[in-house]
Each structure stands twice: as structure tokens, then as C-alpha cells.
């Protein structure tokens, strides 16, 4: 009922406005003042303004349109309005664009064709009268363009760098594709460095990003769907997948989750992550975000979906399992045994980063009998005179380390290393010399820190850092029993998690032996005959088996 009445009201308002416009055809330019449109006055709040602006049709008169436009955009300094007269009939026209978003070359071409080329055209009377249509056709030969009769669409067009052409006497606008703003150059992502990997990383422009992917997968089955999210920001969002490989259930779920997002602005893919993540309260990431092109392409080939958000150089990959957060690009570019070794090393260091301080405290305060004699005696001797209990000491050093790390990240590049050297060396050494902490704790904390640096995913590293404190407390309160409890609860949490239906701990739980080839270790490429069982099940085989290279003489 209310919707219907709303529609009726809208219709009535539009009609009313049309009548108003047509009633005063010969009003003088100078003292014509458009009536304040309902909803666009100074005292109208955002939601009213947005609403009023949404269904504003263009009028026949250029003057009206420009006034309207000025009301909508205010006196924004970057919005350019160039008025001129076009064609032999000298029809008043205007060019609308936003500085900095348009490519000056394209703008030049547009202007040229509208102002100059129009005279070169052989035009009959009809065409002379209908300058709009003529220009449109003329322009089509040089530049992409389309028409609209709506102020909102016009504005959204120029807000992404298009140029709008308005002619007097036509209630429509020509929108020309003149985008061209400065985009950061495609460069190596600094947060995900690799030694032999691809040096191209995503940038903040969604077009560049999708093109980077398209260049690597040239199949027509690479589909990229797009949508706009954000009532104010109107952020472009696209998700790419390989049609026929990815499960349609995942796509359906993703579409419905994306559609449900109602927010004013999206400033990065992290926002999207919050909205579509399966386990928002979990410390563990359930979407993989990456800046690396090769990583996205590799995941697409396994049957995953990549989400790009305009303005963010991070693509999101769904569904993501626990193992994808411990994969680093170099695993794939180094030959099998080396890549596998560093992969396994990373798993081990994840557990070290998570449990070492907790186990240290638990063993030292609850189970000294587990330590060999010389080791216990050394630790005890080194701890002699330290005024704090082991827990407090460890906690203290952990906090010092976390603060140092945060300071190192926040500080400018040049100062960053300096602070970590000062912090780590001077503070640590001074603390030991002053007898406030024992060397053992410093070793443990430093080793834990170094281990946590090997985790490729920053989010997973953060989870490990936070949970480490939890394990520390559990270990300090209940000994190894507490650590065991912590481990159990952690595992229970992990195995009950899903990312878009994909079991988070796969292929460890549920255990899939065939998928171990790219989880715990990564085998030779020619060994990876099948795609991951739960993702690429629609087209399980990736390559024919038996491609192991052989020496020419050995072939039978």
C-alpha cells in the first residue's frame, strides 16, 4: 500500500515539474530563478537530497538543466561546465565533466567533434534541427557514448570520468566515455613479496585489475559479473570466476550475500569481507585477500571466485580454507622439494607462534620435571634474581614486542627499522642486564616473533598473535592441561567453520588425501593431476597424468 502511494506521489511530482517547466518557455535568463526543488534545499538532509536527486528527469531547456545540475552538485570546484554554441544553428550546448577524472585527450576529441567537425558534416534541415542526434552519430565514430534522460545517471556518468553533453531543446544528455584518471602503476605488491614470483600486483582501479586477470586467462569462460554497492560511494564491484568450473551454489550464495549489503560507502575490500564473511566473530579470516595477480589466477583455476572492489588493490578470494593462508607465492615458483620444505616450515612456525610462550610458561611453572637436568639448571640459574613470576615476565616481554612491532609498522619507512633495532637490541639487552627479565624469556619471545613473521597472511598472523596471549594465560593457569584445552577449543572452532559452505579445515578435516598435494606440501605441477575435490568437483581433472619429464634415452 505504502509503496503504491509512494509511486503515485512520485509520478505526480514528476508530472507537476514538467508542467511547471513548460509553462514558462520565455522567461528571461537573468532573473529566472528555479524554484527550490523539493528535497534539494539547504535545509534538506542527506537522505532527502539523495532521494530527490534520484528521479530527476532532464528538461528540454539547457538553462534549466544547468541550474538543476548546479543545485545538485553545489559549487563543487572540480565540476566543470563549459557552455558553447553548437552547429550552424548555434544551439546552446554545455559540456559537463569533472576535472581530474577525464582524459584531456579524449575531452579534446569530443570538443573538436562537437564544435568543429559538426560543420564538416553534410546536414539537411532535419539534421540541423536535431543537433543532438547529429552529434550523437558524429561522436559515435570517434568515441563511445550513450544517452540518458536522467539527472542521476548523468551525474554518475561524469563522476566516473565521463563527459556529458547537453543541448538546448533536448531532454537528454550525451554521455561520452572520456575516463582517464591517474592510476598507480602496476607494481610488485610490497606486502606479499616473492623471490621468483610474478612482479605484477593489483592497483586501485578495478578495470586494470580485471584486465590483469583477463590477460592471463584468455578463455571466454572467464566470466566477470559486476554490481554497484554503496548508496553514496556507488563503488563498483566485480567478481570473476570460471564458468562451468566453479560451483553454482557458491555463486548463488555470493550473489545473494552481496545483494544484501546496504551501506553508504565501501572504501576497500575489507568492508565487503565483513559483510559476506561466514564467521564474522572468528579471529580467523574466512576470505583470502591478496594483491597478487598470480594468486588470484591460480585460485580461479581451482574453481574459486575472486571479488574485486574498485578503489582497493586487494582482491578477495572465496571460498578460502585454512591452508590457503599459509601458502606463499614462492612455494609455487620453486621446484617441489624446496617449495614443500618452506611450506612445512611455515606450518611448524605457525604452531610455534601460537603455542611457544604458553608451553614455555606451562612447562616451567607446572612441569619442570619435563626438562632435562642441564637445561632446567641453566634456566633456573639464568632466572635467579628476576623479580617477576614467569608469566608476568613473559607477558611483559610479549607486550613490549607487540608494541615494538606496531610502532615499526606505523612509523615511516626510514624510521621503522631504526625503532625496531633500538627497541629490540637496547631494550632487550638493558632489561636482561638490569635483571628484570631473564635471557630465556627474551629468546622465547624473539623466536615466537620470528616464527610469526613467516605467516604469509597478515590476518592469520594477527589471529595467532592474539590467541598466543590466550594460550599464555591458559598455560599459566592450568599448565599443559590448559594448553591442551586451548588447542582443543581452537580446533573445534576451526573445524566447525565454513567459508561459503567449504569446510575451513579441508583437506585436513574432512581428511582428503588427494588434496594434500597442495596443502601440507606442494608436489610437482605434473603430479597435481586433479583439482581440489571440494572445489573443482565439476571438472576434476586438470591435466593428463604421466607428464613427468624423462631423459630422451630412458624412454622405452
Amino acid at each position: 500500500m505504502s509503496i503504491k502511494s509512494g509511486l503515485l506521489q512520485k509520478l505526480a511530482r514528476v508530472l507537476l515539474r514538467k508542467i511547471k517547466n513548460t509553462r514558462k518557455p520565455n522567461a528571461k535568463k537573468t532573473d529566472w530563478k528555479p524554484k527550490e526543488l523539493p528535497g534539494l534545499g539547504d535545509f534538506n538532509d542527506l537522505s532527502q537530497r539523495e532521494k530527490a536527486f534520484q528521479d530527476l528527469p532532464l528538461s528540454n531547456r539547457l538553462e534549466d538543466n544547468l541550474q538543476l545540475f548546479r543545485q545538485v552538485t553545489g559549487e563543487s570546484y572540480d565540476v566543470n561546465i563549459q557552455e558553447f554554441q553548437s552547429g550552424p544553428e548555434k544551439v546552446p550546448a554545455a559540456l559537463l565533466y569533472i576535472d581530474g577524472l577525464v582524459d584531456t585527450n579524449a575531452l579534446e576529441i569530443t570538443l573538436h567533434s562537437v564544435k568543429v567537425d559538426i560543420f564538416l558534416t553534410n546536414m539537411d534541415e532535419v539534421h540541423k534541427k536535431n543537433i543532438f542526434e547529429t552529434t550523437r552519430r558524429r561522436l559515435l565514430s570517434v568515441i563511445e557514448s550513450r544517452t540518458t534522460g536522467n539527472m542521476a545517471e548523468l551525474y554518475y556518468g561524469i563522476s566516473i570520468g565521463r563527459t556529458a553533453l547537453l543541448f538546448d531543446g533536448t531532454a537528454r544528455a550525451l554521455i561520452c566515455e572520456t575516463q582517464g584518471w591517474n592510476v598507480r602503476e602496476v607494481s610488485e605488491p610490497s606486502a606479499e613479496a616473492s623471490i621468483r614470483g610474478v612482479r605484477e600486483g593489483f592497483v586501485e582501479s578495478i578495470r586494470t585489475n580485471t584486465s590483469l586477470v583477463r590477460r592471463r586467462i584468455r578463455s571466454p569462460n572467464l566470466w566477470i559479473e559486476s554490481m554497484e554497492i554503496g548508496s553514496l560511494s556507488k563503488t563498483e564491484l566485480a567478481f570473476a570466476y570460471i564458468k562451468g568450473l566453479v560451483g553454482e551454489e557458491i555463486l548463488g550464495e555470493l550473489r545473494s550475500r552481496l545483494k544484501n549489503i546496504k551501506v553508504d560507502g565501501i572504501l576497500g575490500s575489507g568492508y565487503i569481507e565483513d559483510y559476506i564473511s561466514d564467521n564474522p566473530c572468528s579471529l580467523f579470516p574466512s576470505l583470502l585477500s591478496t594483491e597478487r595477480v598470480d594468486r588470484v589466477v591460480g585460485n580461479l583455476l581451482e574453481g574459486r571466485v575472486a571479488i574485486f572492489v574498485n578503489g582497493s588493490s586487494f582482491a578477495l578470494i572465496i571460498p578460502a580454507g585454512f591452508d590457503s593462508f599459509l601458502q606463499a607465492p614462492d612455494d609455487y615458483f620453486e621446484p617441489f622439494p624446496l617449495g614443500a620444505f618452506i611450506r612445512v616450515l611455515r606450518y611448524i612456525s605457525f604452531f610455534i607462534a601460537l603455542f611457544l610462550p604458553g608451553i614455555y610458561v606451562a612447562v616451567l611453572t607446572f612441569h619442570p620435571e619435563l626438562l632435562p637436568v642441564p637445561l632446567l639448571l641453566r634456566i633456573q640459574a639464568a632466572r635467579e634474581g628476576v623479580p617477576f613470576p614467569v608469566v608476568v615476565e613473559t607477558l611483559f616481554m610479549e607486550i613490549v614486542f607487540e608494541v615494538l612491532r606496531e610502532a615499526g609498522v606505523r612509523l615511516p619507512m626510514i624510521v621503522g627499522p631504526a625503532i625496531s633495532i633500538v627497541g629490540a637490541l637496547v631494550l632487550g639487552d638493558a632489561a636482561i642486564r638490569a635483571g628484570i627479565v631473564s635471557p630465556g624469556v627474551v629468546i622465547i619471545v624473539a623466536f615466537t616473533a620470528i616464527a610469526s613473521f613467516t605467516i604469509p597472511s597478515f590476518t592469520l598472523g594477527l589471529a595467532a598473535r592474539i590467541l598466543r596471549f590466550l594460550m599464555l594465560f591458559l598455560g599459566a593457569a592450568f599448565g599443559l592441561l590448559g594448553v591442551q584445552f586451548g588447542l582443543l577449543v581452537l580446533l573445534i572452532h576451526l573445524v566447525s567453520m565454513r567459508s561459503f559452505g567449504y569446510p575451513y579445515m579441508a583437506p585436513f578435516a574432512p581428511f582428503i588425501w588427494g588434496d594434500m598435494k597442495d596443502s601440507l606440501v606442494n608436489l610437482f605441477w605434473w603430479k597435481q593431476v586433479y583439482r581440489p575435490k571440494l572445489l573443482g568437483y565439476r571438472e576434476p581433472r586438470r591435466q593428463p597424468p604421466g607428464q613427468k619429464p624423462q631423459q630422451p634415452g630412458k624412454k622405452e
Binding site: 566473530c281 616451567l364 611453572t365 607446572f366 619442570p368 620435571e369 637436568v373 642441564p374 632446567l376 639448571l377 641453566r378 634456566i379 633456573q380 640459574a381 639464568a382 632466572r383 635467579e384 628476576v386 613470576p389 614467569v390 608469566v391 608476568v392 636482561i432 635471557p439 590466550l470 599464555l472 594465560f473 591458559l474 599459566a476 593457569a477 592450568f478 599448565g479
Partner: protein, 412 residues
């Protein structure tokens, strides 16, 4: 909105609750390492005055142990502290020790367990049961019988080592690897095993004090003694104590142990000195480096005959004579002399064992394992039968290695 708040509240509660649990010290089983005293060697004795059981513990002193920061003896402190107390039972004595100790003692890191002669003579049972039952005690500690003052032994300092326990164990290991004059009982586990299986008696390594008069024994001068060079080793691990059940009833000297080891197939190294051929005042040394032995029982009625096959391989280590005749005769005679030495050692050990009537070789156990029916019959009267057991050693010894040179040095 409400949901979020509850979530935050839970998080807050968890954040408050866990640290609260973690911080109070001494709750339940938490012990700060700085409140613990690690006992590395414990000795059990009877107090000669009161006749009560006495426990003497050597506690590692963290202040005296050198750390990386201040290598060398930390502040001149003694690296250990010796404390003793009496009690009716082992546990009572241990609790009495804690009355005079500033720290709680933990016994899980015992490396050596020493029994005094009196203790061994009275029987090990009270100590053994405590060790078996106590959660902190581990069966990896090594048992010794000490001849002499146990307390003095615990207080003495060893060359090269900081703590008595480690010193004793390393000494034992070295002897085992290099000289073999040591019975194979190297952990409490073996001790328990020997006490429980049928047909074998217990044999333990024996420590002898060899402190000379006037020599400082560590406790008095502390760190200063380290300045002197060549502090003598205060103890000598030599010989073995023989038990009947859990009671001490005799000793073996080194020769007899060698015989014991030949029989039980535990020999590793042994050096033998012979005179050089044709030069009676010059000597040569042969070291046994590889050996095996095999025991077979033969039962006829109440007569038990043990066939012992021994195989030993030796290596010529030095030769002081002028000429080394590498001919067949010399080698045969050398082999024969080796075999005779081994034969004699075995006979000595057997003689001593028969004299004491202690089946330390496990002849009975051998029967039990391989001829259970006979053992069932003989078990009752085993002590009498053991004294009549005939052992037929069959020794095959050979010298295989002659070193890097053939002839001895020819001096002008």
C-alpha cells in the same frame, strides 16, 4: 545491537577472568622455578647415632651455576648445597629436609641414587618402594653403592664437572665405554628388574672414596680450589656390590667383575698386559674391542651344566719389545694367552659367587627363560643347585689388529 553488546561483554569477561587465573602464584600445582631446589643426587643412609633413616640430598645451587652472562663460577658460590635429615621413613626424612630448606625440593631430576654400605646391608626395600611409588622419582636415575662416608662424597667437588650427579654419571659412562669394569645395572629400572625376575641376584656398581688427608674437599674453600690445577677426582668407581635379595652380602673386585661380564655378555673393552715374547721384562698390551658370549644350559636331573661360549677379538695397542715376530707361532700364543686370561677371570668370578652362593650371573633366569619346566622343578632348591652348577667355558680369543705400523720402532 543487543547481540553485539553481549558479545563484547563476553569478550570483556574472558579478558578479565583469564589473567586473574593466571597471576596468583602457588595456586594448585604452580611453582615458580625460583622457588624450587633441584636435587641431582640423593644418598640414603642410616644415622649411626639414632639408627634412623637418613636422606642426604645434593641440591643444585642456581647462584653458583655459571650462566652465559658471567661464565665461570657465579660469584664464587658453591654450585651445590648438601643437606640431610633423618626420619623413620624415606618420605618423612624428605619432609624433614624441607624444614631446613629455603626452597621446595624437587626430586624428579635425580641423576644418581647412592646407597651407603649400612643401607645396603640393612636392605634397600624401604627406599625402593618409595622410589617406585613417588611421582617425581624416575627410574632413569643410576644406583650406586658407596663405600665410605656418603656425605663426604656428596660434598666433594669433581674436576671438569659442576655437579656431583653429572660427574658420577659421566664417570660411569666413561668407564663403561672404555674399561667395562662395571656391572650393567645402569638405571633403577634394571635394578627393579633384577630384583623381580626369578633366578638372578642383584649386582650394583660401587663407589670408593679416595680423598687424601688434608686435601680440601670443596665445601671449605669453595671457588678458590678451582684456581689450583689438578684437583684429584675424589671418587673411584670400582668393583661391585653383590646382593642377596635386597641386602648387601659381598663385593666383587675388578677382575671378578670382568669375569662376571664375560659370562653375562656385557663386556665392551678390556685391556690385558702380557710379556713380550723372548723378553720377559718388556710388556705388550692387547685391548679387547669386540666380544660376544653365549650361555646354554643343560639339565640332567638335579645336575645343571652351563656351556659358556666366549668369543673375543683383540687389538695390539703397544709393544715395548725390540722385535715383533708376526709369525704363526707368536699369534697363536698371543691368542692362547688371551683365552687363558679370560678363562681365569671367569673362574675367579665363579669362585667368588659360589663362595657367597649368589647367582648373580642369572643361571637360574636362563633356565627360567629357556627351560621353564626344569626351572619349575628346581626353583625350590636353587641355592644348593647353584653351588654345584658346572660351568664349562669355551673361550675363543683372537688378536686381529696390529695398528698402523708393522714392526716396532728401530732405535739406532
Amino acid at each position: 545491537m543487543m547481540q553485539k553488546n553481549i558479545f563484547l561483554l563476553r569478550l570483556l569477561l574472558l579478558g578479565l577472568f583469564l589473567p586473574l587465573l593466571a597471576f596468583p602464584t602457588g595456586c594448585w600445582d604452580r611453582r615458580e622455578p625460583s622457588l624450587l631446589g633441584v636435587v641431582t643426587v640423593a644418598a640414603f643412609d642410616y644415622n649411626p647415632q639414632t639408627g634412623m633413616l637418613q636422606v642426604i640430598a645434593q641440591v643444585a645451587n642456581p647462584l653458583g651455576i655459571s650462566t652465559g652472562e658471567n661464565s665461570g663460577p657465579g660469584g664464587g658460590e658453591n654450585p651445590f648445597w648438601v643437606v640431610k635429615a633423618d626420619g623413620h621413613t624415606v618420605y618423612e626424612a624428605i619432609k624433614n629436609i624441607e624444614k631446613v630448606s629455603t626452597r621446595k625440593l624437587i626430586w624428579s631430576h635425580l641423576e644418581a641414587v647412592l646407597f651407603s654400605e649400612t643401607m645396603a646391608t640393612e636392605g634397600l626395600r624401604p627406599v625402593l618402594d618409595y622410589i617406585d611409588r613417588e611421582r617425581q622419582a624416575r627410574l632413569i636415575a643410576r644406583p650406586f653403592v658407596v663405600r665410605g662416608d656418603v656425605r663426604q662424597l656428596l660434598e666433594s667437588k669433581f674436576p671438569l664437572e659442576e655437579l656431583g650427579g653429572q660427574a658420577l654419571i659421566r664417570q660411569l659412562l666413561t668407564i663403561r665405554m672404555e674399561d667395562a669394569f662395571m656391572p650393567e645395572i645402569d638405571s633403577l629400572l634394571r635394578l627393579f628388574h633384577h630384583l623381580t625376575v626369578p633366578g638372578v641376584e642383584l649386582i650394583l656398581p660401587r663407589i670408593e672414596m679416595q680423598v687424601e688427608e688434608g686435601e680440601d674437599n670443596g665445601a671449605k674453600n669453595g671457588g678458590n680450589s678451582k684456581m689450583k690445577t689438578g684437583r684429584p677426582n675424589p671418587v673411584k668407581i670400582s668393583g661391585a656390590a653383590l646382593f642377596r635379595g635386597d641386602r648387601l652380602s659381598g663385593y666383587f673386585d675388578e677382575k671378578e667383575i670382568a669375569g662376571y661380564l664375560w659370562i653375562t655378555e656385557n663386556i665392551r673393552r678390556q685391556t690385558m698386559v702380557f710379556t713380550c715374547p723372548g723378553e720377559a721384562d718388556k710388556y705388550l698390551t692387547v685391548e679387547v674391542y669386540c666380544s660376544s658370549s653365549n650361555l646354554k644350559a643343560e639339565v640332567q636331573g638335579d645336575n645343571v651344566r652351563m656351556h659358556l661360549f666366549v668369543r673375543a677379538e683383540g687389538k695390539l695397542q703397544d709393544f715395548a719389545g725390540l722385535k715383533l715376530p708376526l709369525d704363526e707361532d707368536f699369534r697363536k700364543s698371543l691368542n692362547r694367552r688371551m683365552a687363558t686370561v679370560i678363562h681365569n677371570q671367569i673362574d675367579t668370578a665363579l669362585l667368588k659367587a659360589r663362595e657367597l652362593n649368589l647367582d648373580i650371573f642369572g643361571f637360574g633366569y636362563e633356565l627360567y627363560k629357556n627351560r621353564p619346566q626344569d626351572w619349575k622343578r628346581l626353583e625350590e632348591k636353587w641355592p644348593e643347585i647353584f653351588s654345584k652348577v658346572e660351568v664349562e667355558p669355551n673361550v675363543h680369543a683372537i688378536v686381529r689388529c696390529y695398528g698402523l705400523v708393522v714392526d716396532p720402532i728401530r732405535i739406532r
